[in-house]
Amino acid sequence: MKSSKKASLLFFVLLLFGTQVQSSVNAGLLKSSTVPQNLSEFGFFQNMQKQIPAQDVHPYSLVSPLFSDYTDKLRFVYVPDNQKLGYIKDKVFIFPVGSTLIKTFAYLNTNGPMDQQLLETRLLINTDLGWKAVSYVWNEDQTDAKRTIAGATIPTTFINSYGEIIDIRYRAPNQNQCKECHQVNKVMTPIGPKVRNMDKTLQYESQEMNQLLYWAAQGWIDSKLQAESMHGYLDVNAPLEDRARAYLDINCGHCHLRGGSADTTGLYLNLTEKKKEHLGIFKKPVAAGRASGNLKYSIVPGKPDDSILIYRMKSLDPGIMMPESGRALADQAGIDLIANWIEQL
């Protein structure tokens, strides 16, 4: 009797201790140069499968998200205790070393009878040497995700917003492909967490709150930050021009940007670009090859069907499609938005 009581107490203590380890981030691991084989080792989640974050890991969401094959993206941020974020107007926040951005790509399939499927979780870890990209692909049981270097191909199906079942050869990018988008002038950087892209309300566990105010309440940032405001491209009440530019900024502007990986083309689609030719208006292609689709200009005002931009957004051919990685399907809503914008230019 006595010994079994002891054993159960020990079990209880272990459980308690175990839960504690589980529910807080392994900060030491983030500082070390070794990268664990399993996502669970970081301790970002209390419940991996349900994607319930640990206590010191916080969800966030973006005003204008990047299109990624209709995946649902579960974003989380971890900032080491008592540290502050730096801020430069219109730039991505400057995170302290040890901070991590966590993004799980999933088909939640909320619109039909299929189970949710977690595909991959990508991490951007800020180290002494700068941001490091690491990614993990979920196992079939959805209990943990395993590190991948060369990426992974995940043939699967999901249910779209119209309730249709769609087949996809989902491709988790390799480490170099992370750099294609996240590298500017050869320095790795996050893309999403800018003030203008964070200024929205989010349902937190305890309450609904503006994300910037929530971050301020964590002591990470000041509550009043100056920034160029941006309408989300999803905001149907915003002016068409603003929505289109917001869409191009987040989906194209990280490469099509001076110093970005597509700057050789002279096509710059970031929000702050002002020059018409660089935005693609009556701009001839430079190195498009067959991706020109026999069209003469990136954008012909009033004529979306004569615009290479639309042709490449629609294509599923790897030699033609834009963006050139990160999607296997076309973003129909995005195509419609940009086509409408070109129509009225």
């Binding site: 060369a150 190195a287 090859g289 026999n294 050139e324």
Partner: protein
């Protein structure tokens, strides 16, 4: 050295090796065909990727599902040698923003012959410094077989470009030597171009010598919209909007339309910093074979104008004569004049823009001796090829 053999898992094996490589590593791909569905990329400095011969080690992208290139390189001090990239869906090998890159005995090919469905570029270094392409072969690109863009210090030698729209193209680049190459069966053999609204422009200091640019008579198969889509079939060498270009000791002939064309960039641009005219061009010591006997009037205006002005007696060298308006009136500065010398019995036609537009004036210069002058050789391009 890491040795990789073809397997059912070739992509993961090669890509993982490329990511985990450390400076100084050699990755050897054995003889055989590697079937790849996704594009490969290297971003580690100082790595050598080598095969066992351009006809032995084949990276085959026939069934490529993702990625815009066959292979992409974004790191410094890289050597690629002795393999071939076949049937990439986009560009075959793209190298961007690096210092020191060597392509040695590398082949890029689309195996079903010239087709607008082929990828744009074969060997494609861009925004790079110290580019060496030696002993390579490029076949079937729907834009340029060997294309060097927005780069500095470039040597392309001992290579062969065949059945591309443009055989060898140097674009928006500074300090390039293109020599001892063969360009044949392309639409245009060797192109020296400069385009507006790009991060690097003002292409200059390009030497094209000891090459054979012969029989470039493949119909232009570039998709429309691309600048090379305007190149007429049967063009040996085109110089467009560059300065300080020296074309010498080449054998240029059997080109249906013209052996050498020197032209202004002809499209609209709002780029005020861009200079659209060629200047300080020197052409000497070349040997010309027959040309102009079957001009391609379907692409652009070049062949049509040439045919009309020459009365069908097509020249070896064509210059569109366009210069800034002030120079039309007051003449070109001495150091910007085109010099043409010692080209055997080569012939010329240069448009006189004012005469061309007005009746009763001579529309063109036909006497090649009007361009006689003293050749001022450009300095050879040199950089440390050991890295």
């Amino acid at each position: 050295m890491q040795i990789i053999q073809p397997s059912s898992n070739s992509y993961e094996q090669i890509q993982e090796a490329l990511i985990l490589a450390e400076p100084g590593d050699v990755i050897r791909l054995t003889a055989g065909t590697f079937h790849l569905e996704d594009s490969l990329s290297l971003d580690v400095d100082g790595v050598q990727i080598e095969g066992e011969g351009m006809n032995q080690t084949i990276l085959d992208f026939q069934n490529q599902q993702s990625g815009a290139q066959g292979l992409s390189v974004t790191s410094d001090n890289v050597t690629l040698q002795d393999f071939s990239v076949q049937n990439a869906k986009g560009d075959a090998i793209k190298v961007k923003g690096v210092r020191n890159i060597k392509f040695l005995r590398v082949k890029t090919e689309w195996t079903n012959g010239p087709s607008p469905k082929n990828g744009a570029y074969g060997l494609y270094p861009v925004e790079s410094t110290n580019v060496l392409i030696d002993g390579c072969v490029a076949i079937g690109a729907s834009d340029a077989g060997i294309y060097v863009g927005q780069s500095k210090y470039i040597i392309v030698r001992n290579s062969r470009a065949e059945f591309n729209v443009a055989g060898i193209e140097i674009e928006n680049s500074y300090f390039a030597d293109v020599h001892d190459n063969l360009a044949t069966n392309n639409t245009g053999g060797i192109l020296v171009f400069d385009l507006p609204s790009l991060p690097q422009q003002g292409g200059h200091h390009v030497r094209v010598f000891n090459n054979r640019s012969v029989g470039n008579n493949t119909d232009n198969f570039a998709p429309e919209g691309n600048i090379v889509g305007e190149v007429p079939r049967g063009t040996g060498v085109i110089i467009q909007a560059n300065s300080d270009v020296e074309i010498f000791n080449n054998e240029i002939g059997e080109n249906d339309t013209v052996n050498i064309a020197v032209v202004t960039y002809g499209n609209d641009t709002d780029d005020e910093a861009y200079y659209p005219h060629p200047k300080s061009i020197q052409i000497h010591g070349n040997t010309f074979g027959p040309t102009g006997y079957n001009p391609d009037t379907s692409k652009g205006e070049l062949a049509q104008i040439l045919y009309e002005l020459s009365g069908g007696n097509m020249p070896d060298i064509f210059w569109d004569g366009l210069v800034p308006i002030s120079q039309l009136i007051f003449g070109q500065p001495e150091n910007e004049r085109m010099v043409i010398s010692n080209n055997g019995d080569g012939t010329l036609l240069a448009i006189k823009p004012i005469g061309y537009m007005l009746p009763l004036f001579e529309p063109a210069i036909l006497d090649i001796n009007e361009f006689e002058g003293i050749i001022k050789p450009l300095a050879p391009v040199e950089f440390d090829e050991i890295f």
